[in-house]
Amino acid sequence: MLAFTFRRLLALIPVFLAVSLIIFLILHLIPGDPVDNLIKIGASAGQRAEIEARYGLDRPLPVQYLVWLGNVLQGDLGTAIVGRRAVSAIVAQALPYSLMLGGCALLFSSILGIALGIVAALKRDRWPDQAIMGGVLIGSTMPGFWLGLMLILVFAVWLGWFPVSGARGWTSLVLPVLTVGLGGTALVARVTRIAMIEAGQRDFVLLLHAKGLPVWRIQLFHVLRHALIPVVTILALRIGWILGGSVTVEVVFARPGLGSTLIKALAQHDYPVVQACLLMLAVAVMLGTLLGDILQAVMDPRVRTALQ
């Protein structure tokens, strides 16, 4: 298992290098001189020289990339143009909020999605199934930020149950988690339903019925166990999408976090911050996928033996 994890981690290194190269190149692909994009308007010649020396902007591009990558790996993400703070400090401040939101949303969509999927599979083609699947279609096609705004309108403005925005206390987490989570719930419910139906048609289920086991035991303890493997795979692949969803939702709810920091930095042309946020999000997606691979191997004995 350890060897498997290690090998998967090694496989991520080229991906990381490629992504970091693209993110590094942003500064050189945008119109204008990189130095101008790294300092405030009206900076002195001395400040320009300092920036040039620091990023090695007078040296060839591959060397610049290595300098930048070296700095990034040591935790030096540069200095924000607006605010003049260390970017690493900004990221460190935003990251816990995003992780909290993403984690809660993932948990919410897994639990609710699997539950809905089970119900839909058990009541296949009857009204609960049709109602759930109809809700799933609508849920998966609604833009996340609009759902967030509607939830604000109903639960924060009209009913006054939760705060409209911000990140103070757990109540401020409810609506954002719902917004991010509902999109994921739709997908998890759909996959769970199909996986349950497919697993329910296997021979061992027939045998369990013949042995006289109660139906609910068969469904919950035997069929579900098989059905969960594809669900975990999908969930792991979706970790990135859930993080992506939190980008929009953070903006809607004016919550601090990587997403809202990124969008603000994009509008302000604060490129060091843009690069850092994009890199963090990309790394989070990669780690999420890795986690999914490992979980899948833990759950599925076939994958485990294939690895040995």
Binding site: V15, T141, P143, L153, A267
Partner: protein, 284 residues
Amino acid sequence: MNMAAALAPAATALRSPKGAIAGGWLLLVILGAILAPWLTPYGYDVQNLPGAFQPPNAQHWLGTDEFGRDLLTRLLYGARTSLSVSAVAIGISVTAGLILGAVAGYFGGRLDRAVTVVVDLTWSFPEILVALILVAIVGPGVTGTLAAIGVAYLAQFTRLARAQIMAIRAETYVEAARSLGASDAFILFRHLIPNTLSPVLVAAMLATGDAIILEATLGFFGLGAQPPIPSWGAMMSSGTAQLFRAPGIILFPGLCVAATVVAINLYGDALVRALDIRSRARTH
């Protein structure tokens, strides 16, 4: 393939009730977008501050926004931006993906491996992340949005086209064409690509739905079409500040996005079924 045969499944898809409702809504939105200047007496950027925040009434069917601009007018012009940007972006994506995937799948070898590596790399990241990287490079605005959506969905179409081409490149008619002395380019563009078109076009239609959401999201962030050009996303973005006073500013464009995307999905499903029936009828 002649025009009538190409359009037959599109008509068949309208026969189911879901397909008919979905197709009807799409037609309505598309016509509304095209005919916007003739459908409404108002301009999308004409401000009328004394007439701001009107509730729906006979003059302004959906009311007015914070600058007194007619909401229905902005919704119609917004449909122009949102639909055309999404459709053009997906068009770029499909064309590039089809050529890239077809060439990679047909020739194989080192080229195929290179394309696969790049495609797998973008495939593993959420579209919104790819789109934001592109917007960071190209800059906000219509061009940035086109590039962002175009590249975000490129991997999907390249993958699909490559898989389709690989499945049919060993067919006997390809061999026959080659033995008759047809060039690679001729085989690709005359025989192989036309045979992969219907699944790719259905995928393109479904992706247009996702692209509308992505376009609205970028517009909501203020990274899409810049004011005063209305887009559904930008309308909702300016509406957030007025959420308490005039929820309609957000409600209507959001409903338009949701309804259009649901309609595209339902119609796409009906189309898939219609195409299936056709292919089955042909093989039997």
